[in-house]
Symmetry: C2
Subunit: 138 residues, 2 copies
DNA sequence: AATTTAATGTTGTATATACAACTATTACTG
DNA sequence: CAGTAATAGTTGTATATACAACATTAAATT
């Protein structure tokens, strides 16, 4: 056979392929719920972290969310423009009062998105996801 | 308390947050392995599907990989420019012979990336990922 | 304290992704 | 068969992401 590797392998076993598809599906669900509030899933993650920690460096945030520093820098730009976050020094970002209210109010919406995903993946799926997450971030 | 929702909730429970982080981590591993061959994880998924099916419509592909038609259209542009895929009609894309050889040769590299991820998530993690994938795509 | 070194953050460039609006193709219907 | 409706695919625009190169700030060394 000319293409032995192709014959033998099973594309559906690809881990990255599965992760990408899961990501697209979950992002679509979240987008649908969050769009009216003009915030994205990625931005919301940053806001959630900030709402708990209140203040930190970009380096710290970048490590917490596994986001490259340049990507983080650009995502923050949009949140800073909206005054949900501000810079209190060269190496310090802080959530604003507006930011705290925003998170406070978006949590019920976020819960709706979470529930829609839970309906799809179930208790089992949610637990399995945690297993993957724990092992890959260990 | 002023921010009751914030106090109560646990950002680390966010499904989308976990999925995004897992996605960044796996994409980084794949990127590292695939970069020398000038192909991305997303493009490789398309090539993998094409290597098995040989020919299909964009609509079919879009449903198989859960990718919006416009995103697919643009990703295909790059593969068509490289002559790994070509259009055989208005609604038909086909893998080229070059494309088949490309996939045949990249599979061993792909296996290295897969193994690096497997080292992190283990048998358990790989199985858990499949569980999530099956349920969310059901 | 001044200069060098290291760490942190930003900007240039490229791909990925989605929605909305448009174009092109195919399918239906009279 | 012609005209319309439906489906498929492309383009405009915006955010997300990463690497490389640059700029800025902090730390270390003399």
């Amino acid at each position: 056979m000319e293409f032995n590797n192709i014959e033998k392998f099973d594309p559906s076993s690809c881990i990255a392929g599965k992760v990408m598809r899961i990501k697209r599906i979950t992002a679509n669900i979240f987008r649908k719920h969050l769009a009216p509030y003009h915030i994205t899933d990625s931005q919301l993650t940053l806001m959630f972290v900030m709402s708990k920690k209140r203040s930190m460096t970009q380096k710290q945030m970048s490590e917490m969310v596994f986001l490259e520093k340049s990507s983080l820098s650009r995502n923050l730009t949009r949140l800073i423009d909206r005054k949900l976050i501000h810079k209190t020094g060269p190496h310090q970002i802080e959530i604003t009062t507006d930011g705290l209210y925003f998170v406070e109010n978006i949590i019920p919406i976020w819960e709706k998105a979470m529930n829609e995903i839970r309906e799809k993946i179930g208790e089992q799926g949610e637990h399995s996801l945690s297993t993957v997450y724990t092992s890959i971030t260990a």
